[in-house]
């Protein structure tokens, strides 16, 4: 028994580190890297390639914060987390930001001691069916077997929607997206439900992607965004404005290719965003060219979107809700001034 305590003591000695409750910025600067909680593998959002490099829309949030705070987007330590442990990891200080396609809900925002720092993807739960089923609406699915990719809200949304419409169904819950796809492909279920962004990823994973279609119904609102600990407003602001800066840069037409030009000879608004004659960074405790670093190294929101999930990626998701507000979407940044 004395050994048990000694083992724990050894463990503590090896892995102990104190996560400060306030002053995340100082911790990050001292450590020289941002510790970022991501998903263990979610196509287009956070994925590792065969060289161990992380990429994805959620990963780009981590990278933009690193660029803003440390001036180098590559200074990120990625902590892959499961859905169950993500909030604990943030609360205990193991990570500085949680960017793991987490839906912004009232309960999470108010009762977990956490703050959502914006939205980097507007998602919604949808359905995918096989074309030869001859179904054009989710309302035709009475008696169907439904493959669900286990999430935290997916099962509840599905139960609510089908109950509201008086439809019976069989729910088959899978753990990971690959298993869900395999279940759908084998014919175990007639319809697959998941967040829309994932439906596209699952669809191109099918042996014959054209044999399946995504139904028009979207049964839930899923605003996904980065989360930080409550009680450290400075860090909260940095993360929030890092997300905004990418959106604002796209709105202003600044991208990674013309960032230098925008900095030296852009219009006053562009120059201000790029850190010329402004103390926008100082107010947050970081350097004034924070937004320039983000855009230069990570790109604007549009670039990040197209590269990871849009036309430049195998997923080919259209912008939809995630287009700029003046292009038919709802991506809207507060002005940087």
């Amino acid at each position: 028994m004395k050994r048990l305590t000694s083992v724990i003591a050894t463990g503590l000695a090896l892995g102990l580190s104190f996560g400060a409750q306030a002053g995340t910025l100082e911790d990050v600067q001292k450590r020289g890297s941002v510790s970022c909680g991501v998903s263990t593998g979610l196509a287009g959002f956070s994925q590792k390639d065969e060289n161990g490099t992380w990429s994805g829309l959620d990963v780009d949030v981590c990278r933009s914060v690193a660029a803003a705070v440390l001036g180098d987007a590559s200074k990120v330590q990625y902590k892959p987390l499961t859905a169950k442990e993500r909030f604990t990891a943030l609360q205990s200080g193991e990570i500085d930001i949680l960017s793991r396609n987490t839906t912004w809900t009232h309960t999470r925002d108010t009762s977990l001691g956490l703050n959502f720092a914006g939205v980097n993807y507007y998602d919604g739960q949808g359905f995918m069916v096989s074309k030869d089923l001859g179904v054009s609406s989710a309302l035709d699915l009475d008696g169907a077997a439904v493959c669900i990719q286990a999430g935290t809200t997916t099962e509840l949304n599905l139960a609510d929607y089908f109950r509201a419409n008086g439809i019976t169904y069989n729910a088959i819950t899978f753990d990971t997206s690959d298993q869900t796809r395999a279940g759908f492909e084998s014919g175990r279920c007639d319809v697959l439900t998941s967040d829309q962004s994932q439906l596209y990823a699952l669809r191109i994973g099918l042996k014959d992607p054209s044999s399946a279609m995504v139904l028009p119904e979207v049964i839930s609102k899923e605003p996904l965004g980065p989360v930080v600990r409550q009680g450290d407003d400075q860090w909260f602001n940095i993360v929030k404005w890092s997300v905004y800066a990418m959106v604002e840069a796209e709105f202003m037409g600044i991208n990674s290719a013309n960032a230098d030009q925008a900095k030296s000879q852009g219009n006053p608004g562009q120059q201000r965003l790029m850190g010329v004659d402004t103390d926008s960074g100082e107010k947050m405790g970081i350097s004034n060219d924070w937004a320039y670093n983000i855009v230069k190294q990570v790109g604007n929101y549009g670039e990040s979107f197209e590269r990871n999930v849009g036309q430049g990626s195998p997923l080919k998701i259209s912008r939809g809700l995630n287009a700029q507000w003046n292009k038919g979407g709802i991506m809207y940044s507060s002005p940087v001034r």
Binding site: A145, G151, L156, A159, F174
Partner: protein, 393 residues
């Protein structure tokens, strides 16, 4: 502690084993007390700081999600407490199926190791060495995603006489709906079982007294099937068949065995069966060959030698091993979560934990259940063990 005992005129306080034992135990008590005190106070502080509720009130809240398979009536409007029961029953079901099937497979493969046919021997060895050395999780994936997923779709089901259907959605077979008079049939089954016990006792007593043998097995089987059959005929078959039929996307009616259950049961059977086969082989090998020769020399037939000489002695070795294999099987059934079979782990530690976030209570309840189930198995197997153990001289 390690110094050599020294000769003293009067033993010091510490050299009295009784005093030492009290001091050690007090030290341990204080150590443990401090350990648990700090864990509990840390946990409470952490939970308060993180806004996590504690207590078991969540068990009475509405669950709001559906479960694929349930042995008791369940729908989304039931409580989290009921999801616990549903999951528990599903765990028990797959464990019982797994234990029965793996014992059968294990005994067959263990005995096959002593076959006269080289191919059968090699096959038995290959089976054991292959399935014992591959992680169970991969085997579950194999059965579910490679074997069962290759079955035809619902509309092209394989069928047996249009009453039993097998497709990628599962195995469908007719159910029986009891009507008036069914209770007589149940009573007949119960009577047959009691009758068999009485018969067995009587036959044993008669053999002990007179040496005459009585064909217990055949008479028992006759009773087990004959009595209920008689009751069925007398009552005019008081059951209605509920035959599965294809409607819309799926089969309705009848009894459905979902493929998740089949895959999990198969994987557990094959994996545990390989270990049991090894146990059986070791058990049989542990019986000295002289026993077989002695049995032959007193004129016993080969079948009787196995049944009366070899197996009872092999069981002494086999039963303790079976005990731990059965316990592993129950614990391994938690891997259901990988393919979505709604066992206790998938439903309760999976979905319910995701919805409520009450990790401590849920993990604790689940651990307690597996602990109790395994203690029960251990208790039953120890009873069996003491009945097969030889009286040592």
């Amino acid at each position: 502690m390690s110094e050599k005992p020294q000769v003293k005129s009067s033993p010091s306080f510490f050299n009295n084993p009784r005093n030492r034992s009290i001091i050690y135990q007090l030290l341990l008590l204080f150590g443990l007390g401090y350990f648990f005190y700090s864990i509990i106070s840390n946990t409470l502080a952490n939970m308060e700081a993180r806004g996590i509720q504690s207590g078991y009130d969540f068990l009475f809240n509405t669950a709001g999600f559906d479960i694929l398979m349930s042995l008791i009536p369940y729908d989304a409007t039931n409580t989290y407490g009921r999801t616990f029961i549903v999951g528990l029953l599903n765990t028990v079901l797959v464990s019982i199926i797994g234990i029965i099937l793996s014992t059968m497979v294990g005994f067959i493969m263990g005995v096959a190791h002593f076959s006269h046919n080289l191919l059968i021997r090699k096959l038995a060895t290959a089976y054991v060495e292959t399935f014992r050395n591959i992680p169970l999780l991969l085997q579950i994936f194999f059965w579910y995603f490679a074997v069962l997923a290759a079955l035809p779709s619902a509309r092209q089901s394989m069928s047996l006489g249009e009453v039993i259907f097998l497709n990628v959605r599962g195995l469908y077979f007719p159910g029986l709906t009891p009507e008036g008079g069914a209770s007589v049939v149940y009573a007949a089954i119960a009577a047959a079982i009691i009758g068999i016990f009485v018969l067995k006792r009587w036959a044993k007593k008669r053999q002990d007294d007179t040496g005459q043998q009585f064909p217990v097995l055949w008479v028992s089987l006759g009773m087990l099937f004959g009595l209920p059959l008689l009751a069925l005929i007398v009552m005019g078959f008081p059951f209605a068949w509920d035959i599965p039929y294809l409607k819309g996307f799926n089969f309705r009616g009848g009894i459905t065995v979902i493929p998740e259950l089949m895959a999990l049961a198969l994987a557990l059977t094959v994996y545990t069966g390989a270990f049991i086969a090894e146990a059986v082989r070791a058990g049989i090998q542990a019986v000295p060959h002289g026993q077989t020769e002695a049995a032959r020399s007193i004129g016993l037939k080969e079948g009787k030698i196995m049944k009366l000489i070899i197996v009872p002695q092999a069981m002494r070795v086999i039963v303790p091993l079976l005990n731990s294999e059965y316990q592993s099987l129950v614990k391994n059934s938690t891997l259901a979560t990988a393919i979505g079979y709604p066992d206790l782990f998938t439903v309760f530690v999976g979905t319910t934990l995701n919805q409520t976030g009450q990790a401590i209570e849920i993990v604790f309840m689940t651990m307690a259940v597996y602990f109790v189930v395994n203690m029960t198995i251990s208790f039953l197997m120890n009873r069996l063990n003491s009945s097969v153990a030889l009286t040592e001289r």
